[in-house]
Symmetry: C2
Subunit: 335 residues, 2 copies
DNA sequence: CTGAAAGCGCTAACAG
DNA sequence: CTGTTAGCGCTTTCAG
């Protein structure tokens, strides 16, 4: 059905190897021949079979993107930027949703290996056992983590300064006079989330009268935020400010608060993390910690691409800065 | 580095063909041998090279998902469902964002062909020229459109009843007494969006005093909705209700309205389309047309999988029903 | 039931 | 500069 290199070669009356060279623009092909081959290829609608090429060259033109859940707007933005960068570099992206489930994550990684992807951008390997981590390292393909990498490991990483982001959130709330605060985060032990919590705690410890924040764990999505806020209202009614570990959690919390007749920011202040597009449009607009999501996605793919083509397999690490975006979901604590 | 079938065969002291049969569970291998081969494979961490397998069998285990933009929450939900279904069937998903740009769309389709994907789920081919459509059809791989297919074409399709959805929105607004209404939709001539508009128009024509709705076109995303609403306020200040062609547009419009001091639903009623998760959490919660997004994504992949494995290449068409979800963004028109 | 041989479509030495 | 040869890792006839 679809024309092969042999068809082109036969039609142009040259050998397949010559046709290959001509089409790939490799040096050492007479101009006239190259033109002829290219003309035939165009006429036959020839398209190179990347599967075959990958088999012989040993390198594929596919990159795996193994994330928690594409429905998380943060991940969608990141995936979009990653896909754009990959496309520009001539790569395709295979999308996998792990829900941060370790078993699922490992299964997906192996299946990406089966597809002989050139590299993988993935959330984190913190939840995986030593053996699995070893297995990933042994695969010898470039891996970029979207979180702080474990010590002495061969993976690259791209992330934001989570600790500082958490600190900014805490300092901001403390500055508004809030002493009884809560942090809504995930049940999963993800480095990014842990660091946010650490930064937040550090900020709260620095203020006098600062009590230890209430820590609630649940699913790190809209529903989880909703449920955690409900629990919070029931068990810790004195809390005057909430720091959500990401914007999705914040949205869920806002929804629960609203349903319970608790006003934001009059009754409770709310601050998020990520600054996804939606943060600016919910009512009230969400004060949150902003990070360059697209740049992170792009940087991750760029590292993979560089490591695939170059031979420098030295891991690269990039940390992006964060900043607080003040909108309308927080205010001075009322006496 | 990674063990090959030959390694397994040598280690198990059988021929590669026997090893292949044993591992693939094909009939006609003595039990004892099969066990031995499998044991060796496990010991060597053998994983089949799907690229090589695809080359010889001619069928790949990858499906292309060629959509407008994964950042659209509707698409993210659909992609997630599609990926889940694909994974269950042993397929991987390659993600491509076309922005509905015809040239980009075609480029991506061809690049998916280069990867020898087994099939493609894509938005629509309406924007493509005849020649490109022909090219897609000639590829002979199963294609599922997420919109009404052009007549006499060989593609399958999965979609919702857009016309009815538009009609429901129109009838609802008319029932609330709105006669001066506007429709905010995309500049792109997408069948889904056109059908929504047609249904909406039909509903408005049925009411007495119903004027022709104002029709505004822009980007079918948050920003587009924002800009269209601004234009609307400036040029058509008398409008009392807005039907947005999708929820993202509605969110953008809500934001612009809010920024201009126009209240929803007191001053203007707003209804969306898609019922993405966010619709229930914005303030006020968005009244919208609901469709089974996940089922659509799953159905699309299921059709591809069925057509790849079975030999029935007859196109399949599925239409899902819609319903109106009444929340708080619309109210009776005030005199 | 198992092995030998051919070949998927392509690239990459190596000769000429 | 071009053709010849070999082979990537796997499946699949075809013999034995």
């Amino acid at each position: 059905m679809t024309a092969t290199l042999r068809d082109v070669a036969r039609e142009a009356q040259v050998d397949v190897s010559t046709a290959s060279r001509a089409l790939n623009g490799r040096a050492g092909v007479k101009k006239e021949l190259r033109e002829r081959v290219r003309a035939v290829a165009r006429r036959l609608n020839y398209r190179p079979n990347l599967v075959a090429r990958g088999l012989v060259t040993g390198r594929s033109s596919v990159i795996g993107l193994l994330i928690s859940d594409i429905r998380n707007p943060f991940m969608a933005e990141l995936a979009r930027a990653a896909e754009d960068a990959a496309c520009r570099a001539g790569y395709d992206i295979i999308l996998c949703n792990s829900d941060l489930n370790p078993a699922k994550q490992m299964r997906y990684f192996l299946s990406l290996l089966d597809q002989r992807v050139g590299g993988v951008v993935m959330n984190s390997v913190a939840a995986l056992g030593r053996e699995d981590r070893e297995r990933i390292a042994q695969s010898r393909i470039p891996v970029v983590l979207l979180s702080r990498p474990p010590r002495d490991c061969s993976f690259s990483s791209v992330r934001c300064n989570n600790e500082r982001g958490g600190y900014l959130a805490g300092a901001y709330l403390a500055g508004l006079g809030h002493t009884k605060v809560a942090h809504l985060t995930s049940a999963v032990q993800h480095p990014n989330l842990r660091e946010r919590w650490q930064g937040f705690s550090r900020a709260m410890q620095q203020v006098r009268k600062g009590r230890r924040p209430v820590l609630l764990r649940g699913a790190h999505n809209f529903r989880g935020g909703f449920e955690m806020a409900q629990r919070l209202l029931e068990k810790h009614p004195k809390v005057t400010a909430i720091f959500a570990a990401n914007d999705s959690i914040a949205f869920g919390a806002a929804s629960a608060l609203h349903a319970a007749g608790v006003r934001i920011p009059e009754d409770i202040s709310l601050i998020g993390f990520d600054n996804v597009e939606m943060a600016s449009i919910v009512q009230p607009p969400l004060t949150t910690i902003s990070l360059p999501i697209s740049e992170i996605g792009k940087a991750a793919v760029d590292i993979i691409v560089r490591q695939i083509s170059g031979k420098d397999q030295v891991p690269e690490h990039r940390t992006f800065d964060v900043r607080l975006v003040e909108r309308e979901s927080c205010r001075q604590r009322q006496r």
